[in-house]
Symmetry: C2
Subunit: 334 residues, 2 copies
Amino acid sequence: MRKNDVYYYENPVRVLSYSSCVGKKEGEGPLGGCFDVVASDDRFGQQTWEQAEKAMVQTSLRGALHKAGLDHGELGCVLGGDLLNQCVSTSYAVRDLKARFFGLYGACSTMAESLVLGGALISGGFEGKALCTASSHFCSAERQYRYPLEYGGQRAPTAQWTATASGSVLLTSEEKGKVAVTRGMAGRIYDPGVTDAANMGAAMAQAAYETLRSYFATTAEDPASYDLIVTGDLASIGRDLVLELAKDDGIDFDGRYTDCGLMLYDREAQDVHAGGSGCGCSAAVLCGHILPEMERGALKRVLFCGSGALLSPLTTSQGESIPGICHLVCLEAV
Amino acid sequence: MRKNDVYYYENPVRVLSYSSCVGKKEGEGPLGGCFDVVASDDRFGQQTWEQAEKAMVQTSLRGALHKAGLDHGELGCVLGGDLLNQCVSTSYAVRDLKARFFGLYGACSTMAESLVLGGALISGGFEGKALCTASSHFCSAERQYRYPLEYGGQRAPTAQWTATASGSVLLTSEEKGKVAVTRGMAGRIYDPGVTDAANMGAAMAQAAYETLRSYFATTAEDPASYDLIVTGDLASIGRDLVLELAKDDGIDFDGRYTDCGLMLYDREAQDVHAGGSGCGCSAAVLCGHILPEMERGALKRVLFCGSGALLSPLTTSQGESIPGICHLVCLEAV
């Protein structure tokens, strides 16, 4: 059922398994020990960055299936996407799985978007299992969105670092597993008029805040109802803006709010400027850190909010501002 | 509920309204008189092809809302996408609507993908209304996928013509309107190894056929159960391959099967080579021709199958073959 903008998953939607695969730099960060697979070389044994990203996605997809004992079984549908033009990392990775596939594009909100839709398909009785996935690769993204690495382009202080990371979550209708997806919410697009593609945190902050505000208003909850509220990926500038907007409305996060882009890297030591970004950042932080913490009982209730900047290099060059969006799921330990 | 790969929408999913907006060439084709808006100039009064595509999408979105009397009302969510990198035509067009938004990427299968998911969200009780949309623009697509128009590149005989077209369908949970979406099915990816990006019909044909074969096997129906089975967009080469594959399996379409890419243009007079393509082709044929024919009683049961080629120019240049996918919805006059 739905109340205002919030989907309530009345039939069980459980996390059956999950897996993460990240690059070398992400493996050297504060969460480095949490991921299932850390590459020793960001090429993942492939000839091109795009093939590397595909191999990384395959690793996380197959990792989640393997943990659920579904190496050869019926896995339901896959929902997911990535940052590459035409979402090719994901579709090529899914090609070999023989799964039904819904391709999504939500920029960095893709992991949350896939969980919102996957949860609805399972709770609605349309799927028994849904494999939700998102990924990004620093090198393929830099080449596509900015400059080839060989160019040695300088980065703005407000810029975020696209994570080389992939996360996959297998949802099930069975009452198995220690984490449930109990609610979901698709976001509206907000565009505060930011035209600087090197400052996407600022562009996405309003969308993230509006989704949170609307969610709390509908559910009659507040930040104190959660152990952790996490956006991905606003990084330091966007995170601060969310806190400011909340303060103006008298919403007190009381230290319960952070952002995946601030968790994946050591900002100072790893030179990532404002913090991490890319579809894979929040996907890998979810699969490498948040879900394990929920399984071990350290976190009971988590709001996972995926924020995306719906621009393209072409729209930026044509002077357009950057629309932001934020989707959200409520995760509960059971 | 689901049986094998088929979603059965047990709660009402009805077509409340729909609208189409197309370019000049499409207006001169055999269906020219069917569309709500035909541009006199493919620039749609804008400065760039991308802005033109956005304006076209806005016209079809607002057209569907206007027909439903929802110019200022609560419209539920929007599900959709287009062919441009990062699906910017759709997200910029949706930006002004203040609607919750699920961005999709299914290449030319996007219209069907949005209807499958929109139907599930409505039947599952998560949405009261869902606006499903897809679009493409010849000039923005040529520049992005092939050559800028000014280059005057030659087209292969197997090539398809990307339609300048957009279609939007507003689904509702109310028992209103003369057409119901009764079933949906997400497709699996099939890749027969075609590497020629100028022959996408051949690349997608197997996926389209496998979706149809699997659908008929699950529902215990056959082509005779339908007045029209329509793929979009395989054009002449893909359509012939589907007929051949069906013949090998003893499935007789008995003249009930055609393809949106063969309906939108006069192939000979309009020089579109194998036929039409692009997300907007099947979306506009659906909204301009198929749904009106169902409303006036000329078609009772229709299988609408959206086929997409999940490649990118980059994967083609790296030697990858072209994965195809096909999603399907069953439309019934009520």
